[in-house]
Symmetry: D2
Subunit: 315 residues, 4 copies
Amino acid sequence: MKRVIIDTDTAGDDTIAILMALHHFQVEGVMITGGNVQFAQEVENALYTIEVAGKGGQVPVFKGHETPILQLGKSQHRTVEDVHGSDGMGGANFPLAKQRPEQEHAVDFFIRKIHENPGEMSVLAIAPLTNIAMAMKKDPTIVPKIKEIFIMGGTNNYLGNITPAAEYNFYVDPEAARIVLHSGVPMTMVGWEMCTQYSVMDDADHADIEQLQTKGSDFFVAVNTVVKAFNKEVHRLNGTTHPDTLLMAIAADEAIMAKSNDYYVDIETKGELTRGYSLVDINGRLAHPANVRVCELVDRERFKAALIDCLAAIN
Amino acid sequence: MKRVIIDTDTAGDDTIAILMALHHFQVEGVMITGGNVQFAQEVENALYTIEVAGKGGQVPVFKGHETPILQLGKSQHRTVEDVHGSDGMGGANFPLAKQRPEQEHAVDFFIRKIHENPGEMSVLAIAPLTNIAMAMKKDPTIVPKIKEIFIMGGTNNYLGNITPAAEYNFYVDPEAARIVLHSGVPMTMVGWEMCTQYSVMDDADHADIEQLQTKGSDFFVAVNTVVKAFNKEVHRLNGTTHPDTLLMAIAADEAIMAKSNDYYVDIETKGELTRGYSLVDINGRLAHPANVRVCELVDRERFKAALIDCLAAIN
Amino acid sequence: MKRVIIDTDTAGDDTIAILMALHHFQVEGVMITGGNVQFAQEVENALYTIEVAGKGGQVPVFKGHETPILQLGKSQHRTVEDVHGSDGMGGANFPLAKQRPEQEHAVDFFIRKIHENPGEMSVLAIAPLTNIAMAMKKDPTIVPKIKEIFIMGGTNNYLGNITPAAEYNFYVDPEAARIVLHSGVPMTMVGWEMCTQYSVMDDADHADIEQLQTKGSDFFVAVNTVVKAFNKEVHRLNGTTHPDTLLMAIAADEAIMAKSNDYYVDIETKGELTRGYSLVDINGRLAHPANVRVCELVDRERFKAALIDCLAAIN
Amino acid sequence: MKRVIIDTDTAGDDTIAILMALHHFQVEGVMITGGNVQFAQEVENALYTIEVAGKGGQVPVFKGHETPILQLGKSQHRTVEDVHGSDGMGGANFPLAKQRPEQEHAVDFFIRKIHENPGEMSVLAIAPLTNIAMAMKKDPTIVPKIKEIFIMGGTNNYLGNITPAAEYNFYVDPEAARIVLHSGVPMTMVGWEMCTQYSVMDDADHADIEQLQTKGSDFFVAVNTVVKAFNKEVHRLNGTTHPDTLLMAIAADEAIMAKSNDYYVDIETKGELTRGYSLVDINGRLAHPANVRVCELVDRERFKAALIDCLAAIN
Ligand SMILES: [Ca+2]
Ligand SMILES: [Ca+2]
Ligand SMILES: [Ca+2]
Ligand SMILES: [Ca+2]
């Protein structure tokens, strides 16, 4: 069983992704980073999700960086309550979980865990990459000891979601993304376009899920209420999107990634229109060595089956 | 019959595009701008192409800006002899045409022509937009008198050709592209991805063209020798690409543009990785009014038929 | 007698500078560029100033670029009516001059004049460098035929005036400044700090000027009303500033430039805080060849004497 | 007695600055950050300097960030062995000190120390601001508990030292400088121009110091050998520069800062020529509230006296 550390800005699909991870992996820590919604809410969402999975108290949650690396003073990065609801959970306003977060900072947990288990830990990153980048900067000696990182983020020559040029996780902290992508750790990137092309659950899919009538499926329905409406209006998508869950499913079963290739990937941090843009050099025009395995095709049915298996199992 | 002005950095596919334009339109002037290959060679290529079309001496050719707006001193922009051959004509080294270029600068010709024919002239832009932008800056009163501009340039959320982030024409002079795109003139953009997806002529297509055995088809074969090899190696395309010719075909027969939409389009001029990137705000995330009609689908068979008709007619 | 072309955004001190130039040089043309105030007003200001100098109808005025190179569509660059009064003439609202501007565009006049008089013409630039840069881009063959350019613009490692990092002329069109500075033409730059350190005319100086009681001195008093108040409030300067006049005085009598050195000078066009900043590499840290002679010290008394001579002579 | 934390990239003048700090303050920790020379060498230089001051084993030294925040992978920031000698100590190659660095990371020490002593600790920053910025990002709740920061860095509208536009400490990690400057902590900045204008020790000054014939003066002579030659060649300065020592002297005796003002200060992080440029908005053109007290004049004799007092006392 893969030993993993999750880094999440828990809201919306992050929760289902955490369920998926808890279903498949030995999750040794969940780190929270600033992103989707208010930080304290993200922490609660992660704790509650662990409880939903029946693992309350068994998986430690660590608070990390609340803001992107370059955010100044009291300024605030762009959160997306419009996508996920005010609580990031479709407005469900779940009760507080019993489990409380750890005292240790996520960055210190990460550094310690990697050193204690060299070559053992897989990292599942479904949020801005602030925590992971900051850990690598604080202690660069962890880098060769990280087994692999799966990243939900960026786009592969495709329309972004938060701006036309950028996907949310890379947009919020492009400098962090750049640090991580150039670290040399073996890395797999699942971009936003994989999500919109292969992870959308439409009305029929939702019906399939609802009829499971498990605690897992009920939770799924609740957290996906707001995003469904948002997707219809903004992304012209008929259904819910599951980028983070897809990332977890691929980490658990690489056959879901029907096609991938190794490319040079870099992040624009200077542009006026393109901050957070992920360059994926498919044709090798820049002649840099590949640093990322990029997911290019998803076996949608296999992904849906994985999702249903997971939600069915949670009861 | 549409009255048109062509702006071209004549090499490779520009030549076939000029043939196509001469076939369909009343071409009242051909302006040369710095781009694909050495400027003087571009001028000769345009003159020779007009001769091939049997219109030698009937269509004036004007020399314009040799370098992008912001190019400094004796520095040189990136030319692409690797794509089009040393002469930009597949290495055919055709003889000099009899017709010589005009004395009037392209920018002055453009300003004069537009003022003399307000609302009458369509502009067919198949090169970096330096000349057109500089004309608009020198005399902004021409802007409302330009009927429309068809632009081959940019990408619509797709891989670029000269860098991963940018298409050649916009990359060479992004500032010019930005000036033109924000001018307010009715505008149609055909991006590089339309070309790679729908304009590629493969071996079977080339066979169809070769058997025409006209002066037009012979010329087509000659100028496409080098680009065929280049496409296989760099763009992983099996065949020749015809962005400029596609632009002309669409201007002549809009039904070839099977689908289009009006979007806000802007150009990155500041990025480190993304200079010349064309942002196309498909989902309206930036909430700016649309400024460009963007071609989203091409009727490939109709395009091929238009190409064959044109080459067949030149003999 | 030096044969000169003036490029000006005529308002405030530009007028006195034009008087100074008409006093010393054979002025063969005055080009107007977008800058200080509304363009049409600048044109009138130049025409009126020529009339004040008693040269109405003898020195042609050419309208040039109304906006900086990269200014888009209908957007407007920053004008400074707060510095110079609504009419750019201290609110004097002078009558229209009899002389009217020429039909020829300033850029075309410039190109023609330089070609007709290779190595003969000195250029006196006291405005954003848009016209001169655009002429160099339209016809690069003029570059080696320009004798020299005197530029009022930039700062030499000193506080700017329009932003902390930039002087107005370079700030309004930094791309133009960059093109001109890298052209290879012999060039002298008089920065804003020369003006604030050595060209300020205080109350005593104004008294000396007023008592001349010439048409020239009356005009001087009128156009300097608003800037005097502005300088006190914004630049903490007690008196009026005369950057453009100083430039002319130095061009007329280089002994006024008590010290100068050749340095590598470049312009920042990308910065977030530093657009238009002029880098002057005094210690040669960048190891680029010098491209500009930079004025480093002014003989203030000699300058004042030149100013008084000029104003005394206009009656 | 001020309780202080020093952050240093110990080489050259940092050592004398540490001596000065140990002479005047209760130094509760010395943090090392990547900067002047190889990181491990900086650590040794700090330890040795503490030994020279006779405080070996009494002042803990903490290793912090070895590289600027945004430095990627195995790339290396610009070090300046040319200024300070290969060992950063004028090539003296001193023996290793007996004291060894602490295990705790500088960032964690800093956060802990500030929380343990709210409102008590002054920070004396004479290096790139990486450690302090990273501490503020890791735990923003320390910010209101920091008493004050004295920063040697930037320039106040003056020529830089590492590039024409930037001073070394801000150039190496401009993002860190920006984070610290916008933190809201009371802050005093002593720029490079204070150093070149008022801290230079010329041959006569060196003679005065040498004749002290203390352990302190011998050490001063040794570490300043290389920089003396460098200054003559590059900065055209006849003598040695003491920016870090000046900073310490001012922190110890504010009367040495003969004049200062509160200004808005910001750092350019995007420019092509101006990375690390410190904007100091003396005239309030940007209308932002002041965030930094900027030293504008130094009582040179008082500074020299302080330096001599300190070196005399070390024996
Ligand atoms: Ca997420
Ligand atoms: Ca072309
Ligand atoms: Ca002016
Ligand atoms: Ca230092």
